[in-house]
């Protein structure tokens, strides 16, 4: 196995075995803080000397979570609660949850009722970012969040450490965006499953470590000749695009992913933390600059055009909406995206992501039909 294969395999293993990774951290005496999707200021956790780990649920048919989750709870939150109640996340010191949608508003109580061993640290982003006090509010909210996490874990955030963590995170974001570019020249190696593993492993690893791993992969890819991909190219949009069985349909149909707006993947990385003297304000400034996301209010809907531009820039002919089951914010956006994408003369596909079922037959049919198009 060459260096590239080994590096890719390592990240695939990490992406597939978060519990093993968590046990490893705990065995080393490290404290781990769970971070719900999305836009948790992980830098605070990192600066406090703890490991932030993403909580993204997983393939499970929830049973016990139904007590606190209405049937219309989005698939990823249902499985998170199921894992929380059944001890899959045991050992985590606390969990940070952003109140980005109605499901989170409800889950903040559902989690506290059902998962007694992992305390919740909730916070909220300001949505009216045009207001004079929006950033002031968020800076104060981040400080309050840090204080809450400190109370739950005993670990404090110092300003200089936070500044250092911000640099770590910015470098990681740049590296990830660089990877998405370089990968497009090597679609024979970086197929949708591998691309996803590189992205997903980031949510379970310390960012400095992940940066090194991805830089190594980029270096190795750059040594290879550019590949001329003859199959179809698509952009993915949504909250998650997994599991591998789902992505395998793309591979089997010769469809490459050449860009993504997946919340678990690039969506987190495309907005850097701005420069500045005060690290707390830098952190809140990042939220002020975020865009093109279903959980971020904007004066004008920019996401459709963003996806069209992404497709055109990377030669993709289709935007695939990976619609998380019962994610209402994404559901609203989906109608507008489809309209914009169609108007631009591109294809759009809407595929359902449901962590509670292994059945991908509908997606298979749609992708096969797309693959057969001239």
């Amino acid at each position: 196995m060459n260096t590239l294969d080994m590096a890719l395999q390592r990240l695939q293993e990490i992406a597939a075995n978060p519990r093993k990774i968590l046990d490893g951290y705990l065995a080393q005496g490290k404290k781990v803080v769970g971070c719900f999707p999305i836009y948790v200021p992980e830098e605070l956790v990192h600066a406090a000397g703890m490991i932030p780990m993403g909580l993204w649920g997983g393939q499970v048919t929830p049973t016990i979570a139904a007590k606190y989750n209405p049937i219309s709870t989005c698939s990823v939150m249902r499985s998170c609660l199921e894992f929380g109640i059944t001890g899959k996340y045991r050992g985590i010191s606390c969990a940070i949850m952003p109140m980005l949608c109605d499901t989170f508003r409800g889950m903040s109580a559902g989690w506290r009722a059902g998962v007694k061993d992992i305390q919740l640290a909730a916070f909220i982003h300001p949505q009216n970012r045009n207001d004079t006090y929006a950033q002031y509010f968020l800076t104060a909210e981040y400080r309050a969040l840090a204080a809450r996490v400190e109370k739950l874990t005993g670990e404090k955030v110092e300003d200089d450490k936070l500044s250092a963590s911000i640099e770590v995170y910015n470098l990681h974001s740049k590296t990830m965006m660089n990877f998405t570019q370089v990968a497009n020249d090597h679609l024979d190696v970086v197929n949708p499953i591998i691309r996803h593993a590189v992205m997903k492993s980031a949510v379970f690893m310390p960012k400095e470590e992940h940066t090194i791993a991805v830089q190594e992969i980029i270096g190795e890819l750059n040594k290879l000749p550019k590949h001329d991909w003859k199959g179809k190219k698509v952009i993915l949009s949504g909250i998650t695009a997994e599991p591998n069985e789902f992505l395998r349909i793309f591979v089997e149909n010769n469809i490459a992913v050449v860009g993504d707006d997946i919340a678990q993947e690039s969506r987190q990385y495309r907005t850097l933390i701005p420069d500045g003297a005060n690290p707390w304000e830098r952190l809140s400034g990042q939220w002020m600059n975020r865009w093109g996301c279903s959980t971020v209010h904007e004066k004008q809907f920019s996401r459709g055009k963003m996806l069209v531009d992404m497709a055109k820039d990377s030669g993709a002919s289709c935007v695939v909406i990976c619609l998380m089951r019962f994610c209402d914010v994404e559901e609203y956006d989906s109608a507008l995206i489809i309209k914009d994408v169609k108007e631009a003369g591109l294809y759009s596909l809407c595929l359902e992501i449901d962590q509670s079922t292994q059945n991908n037959e509908q997606s298979r049919t749609k992708l096969q039909s797309f693959a057969e198009l001239e």
Binding site: R105, G106, P126, Y133, F137
Partner: protein, 430 residues
């Protein structure tokens, strides 16, 4: 249309229709007030003046003081649904517009309607004129934000936004949260002045605040009268007066309506009568929005089982209380009044208090497919109610506007089950 001829009663296969009870004066006044609001909005539109659409718990004081007509899509959707006229708009939103079936049915109905405002094939009743601006407060839910984003995009009109945050813990909003919301109200006034190209009359603004407080206070007093056993009102009556708080919270005409209603309720108390059409053997607390398309059926069954839903938490969401002139107080009130702006433990413990105050024997919860957050409150709050109020809780599935979810059979079975437990508990208590 063919004319319906008088059929001699004895030859009719159907039972003679019951003569309709005349509406009480307070209800007639509500209807007149609502009609006037719509008429004023249409008149303004025809005169080329701006008209707004607003979310239900927005700082209405400002536009009321400006004298700009504002209508409320949630309230409008409820009215249309109660008349069984919502389906074509919902179908249009799901079909031609491509909105998924899982999003709030008020949103689907309204976005569908907004897309066919000028299409004579679609008839809304009551019909709203095309808006020139949108007023958005997300204290009820986040879906409102998404819904209004879509409206703004489709109609190409601005949103005036007051982000009310969400109180995820059981604590008072911190000072920096109040400051942010207050700042938004202040900026909203400034931006509205620019939009309308005229200044706000601050004296009038204060007057509207005072009036709004009087109206909220009066409504609370009326609701409180239903604590009496047996209750002087069918709890469902309260739904009929909500439009006063949503559409006209800052108007004097609402004060007149509430005074009249209060007199009618007091009259019932004096005469030991009630608007509840059955015998009140059980008193329940209703949770959630009404199933507007099935309101009649729900009431019929409640009557049949002698259950009066004497109180419901939904109608208290417009209890936006603050001292007139206190902007911080106003900001805080808009942050905390809605059922959905508060954490489940906060809201469900409020319900526990209300269950005790109103002497409820059970709780009947509408698991509303549209409204995720209210449904979460019901699921997570059940333990809180059962263990703190010691009453049985029953859920039924439904929707506020989408007619495909509610099942008459399930509603009856669940109600029956609840009645049996309430009966057992009552008998056991003797």
């Amino acid at each position: 249309m063919s004319e319906v001829k008088d059929t001699p009663i004895e030859s009719s296969p159907l039972p003679a229709p019951k003569p309709k009870r005349p509406l009480p004066l307070s209800r007639q006044m509500v209807n007149e007030q609502t009609a006037k609001c719509y008429a004023e909005a249409w008149a303004a539109k025809e005169n080329g003046e701006p008209v707004g659409w607003s979310t239900a718990i927005f700082p209405q004081e400002v536009c009321e003081a400006f004298g700009v007509p504002v209508l409320y899509p949630e309230n409008n959707a409820a009215a249309i649904s109660a008349k069984h006229l919502g389906d074509p708009f919902i179908e249009h939103a799901e079909g031609a517009m491509g909105f998924p079936i899982n999003i709030c049915s008020y949103a689907r109905l309204n976005m569908g309607m907004a897309d066919v405002l000028d299409n004579p094939d679609y008839k809304a009743d009551p019909a709203m004129p095309r808006p020139d601006f949108l007023l958005l407060a997300n204290n009820s839910c986040t879906q409102l934000m998404k819904w209004y984003e879509c409206l703004s995009e489709a109609l190409n009109i601005p949103i005036f936004f007051v982000d009310c945050l969400f109180n995820y813990y059981e604590e008072e909003p911190a000072f920096y949260k109040v400051k942010y919301v207050r700042s938004q109200i202040e900026n909203y006034i400034e931006n509205m002045e620019k939009f309308l190209k005229r200044k706000l009359d601050w004296d009038k603004y204060l007057e509207v605040q005072k009036r709004s407080q009087i109206n909220c206070q009066l409504f609370n007093e009326i609701v409180d009268l239903n604590r009496r056993t047996p209750a002087p009102m069918s709890g469902f009556d309260l739904f009929n007066y909500m439009s006063c708080l949503v559409l006209c919270r800052g108007k004097e005409s609402t004060t007149e309506i509430f005074k009249q209603l209060k007199a009618e309720v007091e009259e019932n108390i004096k005469n030991n009568t009630s608007t509840f059409p059955g015998e009140e053997k059980y008193r329940v607390h209703w949770e959630g929005i009404a199933c507007w398309p099935n309101l009649g059926f729900n009431l019929k069954k409640l009557k049949e089982y002698n259950v009066n839903a004497v109180m419901n938490g939904y109608v208290t969401a417009w209890d936006v209380r603050y001292a007139p002139g206190d902007l911080d107080g106003m900001a805080k009130a808009y942050q905390t009044s809605s059922t959905n702006s508060l954490s489940t433990p906060t809201i469900m413990n409020k319900r526990v208090d209300s269950i005790k105050n109103f002497g409820c024997d059970g709780m009947l919860c509408h698991v509303n497919r549209s409204c995720k957050l209210m449904t979460f409150h019901i699921f997570v709050g059940r333990e809180i109610v059962e263990s703190n109020a010691h009453i049985p809780v029953a859920n039924f599935d439904g929707d506020q506007s989408d007619t495909r979810i509610f099942s008459e059979a399930q509603f009856e079975t669940r109600l029956q089950g609840l009645v049996e437990i309430m009966k057992e508990q009552k008998e056991g208590a003797v």
